[in-house]
Amino acid sequence: MTTKTDSTRRSFLKGGALLAVPLASAVPAAVMADDGLKARLARLEDGAAIRELHQAWLRQINRGTNTGAGDTAALFATLQGAAFDQGVRSIAPDHAGQPDAIEVAADGKSATGRFQCLVGIETAIAQDCTLAQMAHAQGGGFVRRTERCVLNVEYVKASGAWAIARVEFAPA
């Protein structure tokens, strides 16, 4: 299942309305319908949980805490998964790109996310000369750039909670 999401209030209400329709017509329904409703509810809950996880991770990145895997490790399934380019300093939605897409596997134990975004990247200048050393000494010595990227994220559900398994930046 692919759920296209965005962060607007309208889309949230739209999702809620879709959910409300089967609830309203469910009174005489058979067990099958009830199971389908539960499954759909579970998927919606998974989607919401993954979105929240994604937002929590973005908040940490954008707060400037991407100084090592340990800072965001609590959101990841493994420490290895938490390790990625430490030059990333900010991630913002690319509103000119495709909508976010979260796909939850049929068994509900894993999911993937695809997010088009603008990634702020900081690259340290080698301290191979006096000027570069001075730039670092004053807290600088970096080259900053913004790149359009697709963020491909893999998620796993363990002990009832979603965690990030792997993050990959790909050119948009």
Binding site: G64, I125, A126, D128, C129, T130, L131, A132, Q133, M134, A135, A137, Q138, G139, G140, G141, F142, V143, R144
Partner: protein, 586 residues
């Protein structure tokens, strides 16, 4: 016979005594009682008054002034201490300073009597591993007015002083040129104390009182540790301030002063329009809370490699590199905007006949390989070189001289239209640290088939660019500015992420005129990284190409330099460096 104005050692060569806390306390004790000296009459502006200065994140200071040189101070409502003080006024501003008896602490305070706003500098010794370096913390606040609500405004750090330069003469006769090319550092030339040969740099504060009045400080970190602060009126070009520290002979200097000056000019600064913020260099690393008095200080002498001749010989034998591939070699950061090299020399042979150095014979095999030998010697030595044609007919090339006992490297400008050559001959095994580069300048002519060189004409040392400020963008994220402060030194300023001037340092330098708008210059990073930097600056194209020569623990390296430049302005300073009939420059 009259003496010269020059010191036995320049500031960066003085081995300042590591004063103990006890020595400092003993020297401070008398002035805590007497107060600072002053060549001008002290002001009685505070005499007989009691004031309470309230600061936002610092102490509340209750003062009672008795006459022009005695006060009592209670900090944060504590017990009162008696001390000597000195005060001076400048328009609406009253400035005073004192040391607290029995401590190594004191204050300097600036009060604007029109607004009752106050800026207080707490000053102390023995706060850094070098006890003599004065530490400062700045508190912003106001003078309490009974029955009145505290003012909301404060004096603020600013970049509005950035780019200015002044000549100052204090009431005690001390003359300086002072440049503020950074919002965090400054550059000063001691005309009367040191003869005005070199400019030096120190971390500085710039604080706005109003559009006319500003507070400036500097601490001579890496040198004597002396602290200077003054209020300056940019229109009247007058100052009142204080100097506190220990000189090269460990004598305590503690005086308040009044001074007058001349405006020398204003160069551009590069922050976005509307950005008037000061203190562009954060006092502590991101995420860390700065300690009291913290600020970023460039300490090149502390961090540089200091090697012996044996160590230099060993490292040169092991690791010597000339023009390594740009992306990975040492010094590659400074070659990001290097123009394309020229292959014009390939296949050529000529002799560079220097007036006061052995002639050098050259065979250029291709665009990157040459053979050289000193005239009269039989053996040719192969060397890797690179060359750039900065202006039609003018080529800069550089190479190391393998086998020379001092590991020489030549950075050479040859003008084939004029038949002239200038060589900056870098070498190691210099007196202070063997890995610190020295330089000799060789002027001469090109002897080449079909080229008749001049008999008398030579490239010449020049002061034409003294006073200019020129920015260099070497690569994305790596931009500096040269300020040619004296005929014998330049300083370099590193820009911050907001393009404010940040850390700054300086070194001996000389400038050679090659053609109109084309200058060949060097600077030595003495008591710094030991590098010899050489660049050929083309003011028509606003590009420079150059050759860096450095020896450190990683070996001897010659590397390419290339930058896009911008002319930032010029100070009117050349007149201060003319030798007078009576001797000296001041």
């Amino acid at each position: 016979m009259p003496g010269t104005p020059y010191p036995k050692e320049q500031m960066h060569r003085i081995a300042y005594t590591k004063l103990s806390e006890r020595q400092i306390a003993e020297k401070l004790s008398p002035v805590a009682v007497s107060g600072p000296t002053s060549a001008s009459p002290l002001s009685g502006v505070f005499a007989g008054k009691s004031i309470r200065i309230v600061t936002d994140k610092g102490p509340a200071l209750s003062y009672t002034f008795r006459g022009t040189n005695r006060l009592s101070l209670a900090e944060n409502g504590g017990g009162a201490a008696e001390a000597g003080y000195g005060a001076l006024t400048l328009g609406s501003v009253a400035f005073f300073s004192h040391v607290i008896p029995g401590t190594q602490r004191g204050y300097a305070a600036v009060i604007d009597r029109d607004t009752n706003l106050a800026t207080v500098f707490e000053l102390w010794f023995s706060g850094y591993k070098d006890n003599r370096e004065v530490q400062r913390e700045i508190y912003y606040g106001y003078v309490e007015q009974p029955g009145q609500a505290p003012p909301k405004a404060r004096h603020v750090t600013t970049n509005r002083v950035e780019g200015k330069g002044f000549y100052w003469k204090q009431d005690n006769g001390a003359e300086t040129l002072e440049f503020y090319p950074s919002a965090a550092y400054s550059n000063f030339v001691e005309l009367s104390r040191l003869g005005g040969e070199l400019g030096f740099c120190g971390p500085s504060d710039y604080i706005k009182i109003n559009d006319d009045l500003y507070i400036y400080t500097r601490t001579e970190c890496e040198f004597s540790g002396t602290f200077t602060a003054y209020v300056m009126d940019l229109n009247r070009i007058e100052q009142v301030g204080v100097r506190l520290g220990f000189d090269a002979n460990d004598a305590l200097e503690y005086y308040v002063f009044r001074g007058k000056g001349e405006w020398l000019g204003q160069h551009a600064h590069f922050e976005k329009f509307g950005d008037e913020s000061g203190a562009p260099v954060p006092a502590a690393a991101a995420g860390q809370t700065p300690a009291k008095g913290a600020r970023r200080v460039y300490r090149p002498f502390e961090t540089m490699a200091k090697m012996t001749k044996a160590e230099v010989d060993a490292v040169c034998a092991k690791h010597t590199t000339a023009f390594a591939p740009r992306a990975s070699g040492p010094g590659a950061s400074m070659a990001g905007n290097l123009g394309p090299p020229t292959g014009w020399l390939a296949g050529k042979t000529f002799t560079l006949r220097y007036d006061h150095a052995p002639a050098m014979e050259y065979r250029f095999d291709d665009a990157e390989t040459l053979h050289w030998r000193k005239e009269g010697s039989g053996n040719w030595t192969k060397a890797r070189y690179q060359a750039w044609e900065s202006m039609p007919g003018v080529i800069l090339f550089g190479h190391l001289l393998e086998g020379e006992p001092n590991h020489d490297g030549h950075s050479i400008v040859v003008d084939f239209d004029e038949g002239l050559v200038t060589c900056f001959n870098g070498y190691l095994n210099t007196p202070y640290f063997a890995n610190e580069a020295g330089v000799k300048i060789h002027f001469g002519v090109i002897e080449m088939e079909g080229l008749i060189p001049p008999k008398y004409r030579r490239h010449v040392l020049t002061d034409e660019i003294v006073g200019r400020a020129v920015s260099q963008n070497y690569a994305p994220g790596l931009t500096s500015m040269h300020l040619y402060t004296t005929p014998y030194s330049l300083s370099w300023i590193i820009f911050t992420g907001s393009d404010a001037g940040g850390l700054e340092w300086s070194g001996p330098a000389r400038y050679v005129k090659i053609r109109n708008g084309l200058y060949f210059m060097y600077w030595l990073e003495e008591a710094c990284n030991g590098t010899l930097g050489t660049i050929l600056v083309n003011f028509h194209t606003m590009r420079d190409v150059g050759v860096g020569y450095n020896c450190g623990t990683n070996g001897l390296n010659m590397s390419a330099v290339g930058a896009h430049e911008r002319l930032a302005g010029q100070f009117d300073v050349k007149r201060f460096y003319q030798v007078k009939a009576s001797g000296g420059v001041a």
